[in-house]
Symmetry: C2
Subunit: 410 residues, 2 copies
């Protein structure tokens, strides 16, 4: 098995692939209200401060703070009530010394006023006079112009995946459309003479295609557009032709090879001949996923995944998703969803190899317990019973029962 | 402020609302390949075992294990090679004692065979004879019928949100369509006389609508369908009419009240008069979000959220998302994405009140550091700078710098 002579650690293998990528995000303009989960291509800069006018954070009376100094319940200050600030408009008059105006949370401060006294600390003395029972400092209960965002401030960096908070922020600044990375097209090829479409009834020896669908949905979830090229017969001509069509059209191509050594060799041969520089990595020091192939063919990244459904899905996370993130120009600084859990059993592992073990998580007492789900990597339901993947680092020879471990949620 | 006389803890407030819900998930049939993120309404039971036939996990020779007993490199066993199992079909002949067949990973075991010897432990002696250099046990390198899933086994419980692994599992069993919960329709009403659509230019005193969009996207993310009823003027008649239209059509209605006490009172009054039993909770012991209103009107849950964008979004997570999960019939046993982080500063808090503090997470050394983002809850960019929300439990009077805290990712 010459292909496995040099098994690279997964991080190093991925770096080798990413180092060969030249393509970056391609911008497209979309409506902000449809942009959830999309990745920003250029930083957003505030076209004006936020808020644009000083606002009150409470219901109360707009005042000049200096007028309230010394006010207390036993010695109130009396201010002349000159009106009310209507919501959504500027006060018609400015405030002079000794005056106040009724104002509601979110309302715009009248000119001449520099603080707001909460309703609770006031009393209506007479129709046009208010008793102030507590002093306020300048700026108290007020949001200043630019306190949320200053004029010209960069508010969202390029590469941010937009969450509800960013959608709201864009709207607050009047950006009803936004420039995001076009979704990369990811070509998916299934192979294996034993593989049939899920809608058909398998004859003896046949199995339904799983990988095309787990990969498509995982790719979709990562923010790309899956394009399925069908189940390709295990011949050089047909595989080459399908891979070439996918390479010509897509931003990334994923081939799930048949499981046997001969079909894996076929994939490797094709990815090596389809364009320059060809195969970069053949064999990764990880379990599952040792036979993974990483290639770049005339600028297009290509990934050959093992046919076993568990290997295919785990290695999609390790190699396909990071390539998609790179094509999207996505910042990788946001934390990945994970939990700490206590391992329920001893887990042996081979030193030098990075292992990924599907685990179920159960909340027991005050924390999670991670229960490994044992099963050959051919068994798809191993993964559907799992909540996450536990990583056994390459430098460990195993993990002990009771040890606190990191589990990446699936 | 009579509404705040009894502030319920958030968990208790939510329970009160959920206890009044009668509606459960409404099934609809969708194509499995479009079902990512949807919630299963009934359990999936395997219509047949998986695999349906015994398969080899390696490339090698199908044998009778008994024939190999005692085989070693120095004393090989010789077996007659009677053919090759083609991928995707059953072997044409059965295996007799002293015979073997070439077989490829994933291939179907011929009749009469009960183990597979890996290619590495064999040698071709003559064209029709194989040297076996190592003994195998019965079942070695074989996946048995039903080893992944047994016939009639329940494989995915009702209430599961479908991930790529479940999509693959459904396909493996031939389920190309699946019964999932219809997406609940969530009516969203914005109010506030100062609020204008994001596409317009604010006059002095006006602000663009944020909450409609943060809520819509958060609701969409939770698996529901947002329906926007517009920005409603702050009058009883118009608010009542809009809330009534939404209640008649939607499965859940969310009103973001104006920020002032009077408009909050208006929301509460309307939610109380729109149907039975009306307002259940007015005021929750949490910050931000104290003025949150929870109601059920003739069977439809209604949530009144504070107008401040941070309060609105945090309380959407606390109250709106759990109602959506209930309407979807979603199991709540999957772990929520969170990380442990070291708190960077002391955080005071009021005992008895549950606080949610937006934090940025930075990976420093071997773990995350949580840096609170201070800012009034009127400031939307407070949240867009945050990676997650830190919970200060009601029984704490604060958290100390250096303490390990749980941060729920946003």
């Amino acid at each position: 098995m010459p292909e496995f002579l040099t098994l690279l650690p997964p991080a190093e293998a991925l770096k080798k692939l990413l180092d060969h990528l030249q393509a970056g995000p391609v911008p497209e303009q979309v409506e902000t209200e449809r942009a959830l989960g999309r990745v920003l291509v250029s930083p957003v800069t505030a076209p004006h401060p936020l808020p644009e006018f000083p606002r009150t954070t409470v219901d109360g009376y707009a005042v000049r703070a200096a007028d309230t100094f010394g006010a207390s319940e036993s010695l109130p200050v009396y201010l002349a009530l000159i009106g009310e600030v209507a919501m959504g408009s500027a006060a018609e008059v400015a405030l002079s010394a000794g005056e106040c105006m009724l104002i509601h949370t979110g309302g715009m401060l009248p000119k001449g006023c520099d603080a707001v006294v909460m309703l609770e600390y006031t009393q209506q003395a007479r129709p046009e006079e208010i008793e102030i029972l507590r002093a306020v400092a300048v700026g108290e209960n007020v949001i200043k112009v630019g306190e949320d965002v200053e004029d010209r401030q960069e508010v969202i960096p390029a590469g941010t995946r937009l969450r509800p908070a960013e959608i709201g922020g864009l709207m607050a600044l009047g950006f009803t459309s936004v420039s995001v990375a076009r979704k990369p097209e990811v070509g998916i090829l299934s192979s294996g003479d034993e593989v049939i479409p899920p809608g058909e009834k398998p004859a003896p020896g046949q199995v339904r295609d799983i990988n095309a669908y787990t990969l498509s949905t995982a790719v979709e979830d990562a923010g790309a557009e899956p394009v399925f090229y069908g189940i390709i017969p295990d011949t050089y001509q047909e595989m080459y032709a399908a891979a070439e069509r996918a390479r010509a059209k897509c931003d990334l191509v994923v081939v799930t090879a048949g499981s046997s050594a001969s079909t894996r060799d076929l994939t490797s041969q094709i990815l090596d001949q389809l364009g320059e520089p060809g195969v970069l990595v053949h064999g990764v020091n990880t379990r599952p996923g040792k036979p993974t192939i990483l290639a770049v063919c005339d600028g297009v990244p290509m990934v050959g995944l093992p046919g076993n459904p568990v290997s295919a899905l785990v290695n999609t996370r390790l190699f396909v998703v990071p390539v998609i993130k790179t094509l999207l120009g996505e910042l990788t600084t946001r934390p990945r969803p994970m939990v700490f859990a206590k391992l329920s059993v001893n887990l042996p592992s081979q030193a030098g190899r990075e292992d990924w073990v599907p685990v179920a998580l159960n909340f027991v007492g005050d924390g999670y317990v991670a229960e490994p789900i044992f099963g050959k990597s051919n068994l798809i339901f191993t993964l559907s019973r799992a909540d996450g993947l536990l990583k056994i680092p390459a430098d460990a020879t195993g993990l002990s029962a009771g040890e606190l471990v990191e589990v990446f949620l699936m």
